[in-house]
């Protein structure tokens, strides 16, 4: 554990990026030039395929320009050419660390068009799945952040937990990654018998293990404090202007969570807190993620307690032909606001589907916040957004 003075000493950077850039320009005085550098698309620490064009002054980044499209599959065009139910498995391939949330956003949008009324058990199962998925995304994202900073141990503990949660998801859905579990009008199948007791038992153990193996291990670690405190600092106004949502936005102090402010499913019947922090740096978004893990555990416990009996699918007919118009679905994915806009022309496939992916929007902060930081700070800042390649590239 670091003492408070030591922790203050290890602050690598102070002030906002623009303040740092405003320091006296020594380059013109000494006739120095900047250097262009390519980072990626294949880079061991990159979250997928992303190329960053960097302009460096010594080790300080002057300009950062992300180049995307290496994993572009034109999901929106594919969605226009498939019937409504057949798009659900494609949304799994978007953000492959939040598959359940992708499915949820899409089915909400189509149900908005159909004015569908869902049985309560289906809604509770959806919330249960969403929160399990959030745990399976938040816990490894803390591990990834530490992996990029050079600490290998937390990712091993994180993946042990993700593995257990994936076992539950597999028991419920039949698949490990590409679930295709949500249907327009409900969910595919009822829960297997006894799974709620098993999840409840698992959560009892998870609380202790998460505290000792991740929170206690990471929070006081010198690697973590030196590389995250003050790095990637944003003001709340700046974060909103950039379009950041999710944990990095709440890390700046903006109290905004889709689950509470734009409630969907049965989140308005559940009791949970929106975790915020006011530092606005990488460390703050890490603390928000830690807090959200506890909140997710709390939500899952309530869902298990309140789980109603009954059917899990609404009867919407065999062939879905929604009325003409717009359908919107918006969910809080682990990375922020995930929204789907479906435009129907009355036929059995969508006229237009638009995905608002949180990774894509939050990644604009690479252009805005990274300049003024040192080159090695790019990776913690990426860890703050925790972007997923399938998400930003659609």
């Amino acid at each position: 554990m670091l003492s408070e003075e030591r922790r203050n000493e290890t602050v690598a950077l102070d002030g906002t990026a623009s303040e740092r850039l405003a320091r006296p320009d020594i380059r013109s005085e000494f006739g120095l030039e900047t250097m262009d550098m390519n980072m990626g698309p294949q880079h061991p620490a990159m979250h997928g395929l992303l190329r960053l064009i960097l302009e460096l002054d010594g080790e300080t980044v002057m300009r950062c320009d992300p180049v995307m499209g290496y994993l572009h599959r034109s999901q929106e065009k594919i969605a226009e050419n498939r019937m409504y139910p057949a798009v659900v498995p494609m949304t799994d391939r978007l953000d492959y660390f939040a598959n359940i949330h992708n499915e949820h956003g899409y089915v909400l949008a189509v149900e908005d068009l159909l004015d569908a009324e869902l049985p309560p058990r289906a809604e509770y199962i959806r919330v249960l799945m969403s929160e399990l998925m959030r745990l399976a995304s938040h816990i490894p994202s803390i591990g990834f952040l530490m992996l990029e900073l050079g600490a290998f141990t937390p990712i091993l503990y994180a993946f042990r937990e993700r593995e257990r949660i994936q076992n539950f998801l597999e028991a419920i859905t039949g698949a490990r990654m590409m679930f295709h579990y949500f249907r327009i009008g409900g969910v595919k199948a009822d829960l297997p018998p006894g799974i709620l007791e098993e999840i409840s038992e698992y959560l009892d153990g998870l609380e202790g293990r998460f505290q000792t193996d991740t929170v206690d291990l990471v929070t006081g670690s010198e690697i973590y404090v030196a590389r995250t405190k003050g790095v990637g600092r944003m003001t709340p106004e700046q974060a909103l202007d950039i379009g950041v949502t999710g944990p990095p936005l709440r890390g700046t102090g903006v109290d905004f969570d889709i689950r509470r402010d734009y409630p969907y499913s049965v989140y308005n019947e559940l009791d949970f807190n929106v975790v915020t922090d006011d530092a606005g740096d990488v460390a703050a978004s890490y603390r928000v993620r830690i807090g959200e893990v506890w909140q997710s555990i709390r939500i899952i416990r309530q869902v298990i307690e309140k789980m109603p009996e009954g059917p899990v699918m609404a009867d919407l007919g065999r062939r879905l032909r929604p009325k003409e118009g717009d359908g919107f679905g918006r969910v809080e994915s682990p990375r922020g606001e995930y929204a789907v806009h479906v435009v129907s022309d009355g036929s059995d496939s969508a006229y237009r589907v638009h995905y608002r992916d949180p990774s894509f929007c939050s990644m604009q902060l690479l252009q805005e916040v990274v300049p003024g930081h040192y080159l090695p700070d790019i990776m913690p800042i990426m860890g703050m957004i925790d972007p997923v390649s399938g998400g930003w590239d659609k």
Partner: protein, 163 residues
């Protein structure tokens, strides 16, 4: 917290948004549906309407911009959130097959990449955008906009100039 969140109940806030927009701009349509203020405006006035929404009405978050190709006209949807349950949905229709519209990046900087994506996928030209490049497709040698309805998925595309 430095950003002030809107208070009061959603219904009165939403009618306030609608009145605020109606008083300052000529709206083609404007109504409150549930928790959404839906307005339709002329394409020329989109930047001013969004500037009013941000500066006067304090709707701080631009969620996304959707473009729909209606084969002959383009419909753009700007989804704005006030972060407390209210939504302002600004729609506009651009006639013709070569759409041009003013950029809103100076109002909502997050529109930067949304507009780049719309340009990449539909060829919508945003006047005043600081850096209108493609996001996903190749920068050079690719002259198509894949989400247009005229872009048939079964047609083989070539990279002009490469081979």
């Amino acid at each position: 917290m430095a950003v002030s969140m809107p208070g009061g109940d959603v219904a009165s806030r939403l009618s306030g948004y609608l009145d605020g927009l109606k008083n300052r701009h000529g709206l083609e349509e404007g109504e409150v549906e549930g928790n959404v203020v839906r307005v339709v405006v002329a394409p020329e006035s989109v930047p001013q309407v969004l500037a009013t929404a941000k500066a006067q009405l304090k709707v701080l978050h631009l969620s996304f911009i959707t473009v729909v190709d209606w084969e002959g006209s383009f419909e753009l949807t700007y989804e704005l959130l006030d972060l407390r349950g209210g939504t302002v949905r600004v729609k506009t229709v651009i006639e013709g097959t070569e759409p041009v519209i003013g950029s809103v990046t100076s109002v909502y900087p997050t529109a930067n990449w949304h507009e780049r994506e719309a340009y990449d996928m539909f060829g919508v030209a945003f006047r005043g955008h600081p850096d209108l490049r493609r996001t996903y497709m190749w920068q050079d040698h690719f002259d198509h906009h894949p989400l247009l309805k005229s872009f048939d998925i079964s047609t083989k595309r070539t990279f002009e100039g490469l081979r």
